[in-house]
Assembly symmetry: C2
Homo-oligomer: 82 residues x 2
């Protein structure tokens, strides 16, 4: 069966996020002063052929660890859609 898995990769909470800071500045310049903080990460969707949901999640977990997230700077969360 084909499973759709979302992986959210975000900068670690304790680290500065220069891209987020740049977006925050841009939003303030556009007049959106009520935005107080911005963090920018990656959103990745995987279509995985697997026998069951747990196998699909395990494959996504492995993809996150081996390729998608850099654990020095980022953490990731997995969510199964179907």
């Amino acid at each position: 069966m084909l499973y759709h898995v979302q992986i959210k990769v975000m900068p670690l909470k304790d680290l500065l996020d220069p891209q987020g800071k740049a977006v925050l500045g841009g939003l303030h310049n556009l007049g959106l002063e009520s935005v107080q903080d911005v963090r920018v990460g990656k959103h990745i969707t995987l279509d995985i052929e697997a026998n069951d949901a747990n196998s699909a999640k395990a494959i996504a977990e492995e993809a996150g660890k081996k390729l998608l997230a850099n654990p020095v700077m980022e953490f990731f969360e997995i969510e199964l859609i179907n």
Copy 2:
């Protein structure tokens, strides 16, 4: 009140996603052959000071339209966390 809003910005479904194709190749090289497709977008979290949830969502919507997503190539979805 401070609202946390997530914005997911993804390449339009009908468009090629070269970054996703590159990640797919990388995952296959790592032996994760069961991954059939990958799409890569942005995941942005905004902290927004607003009077109510609807105002916070409206500000996030404006941020998405004016700065965060390029409507020629991307669509975005907003989700309120708290």
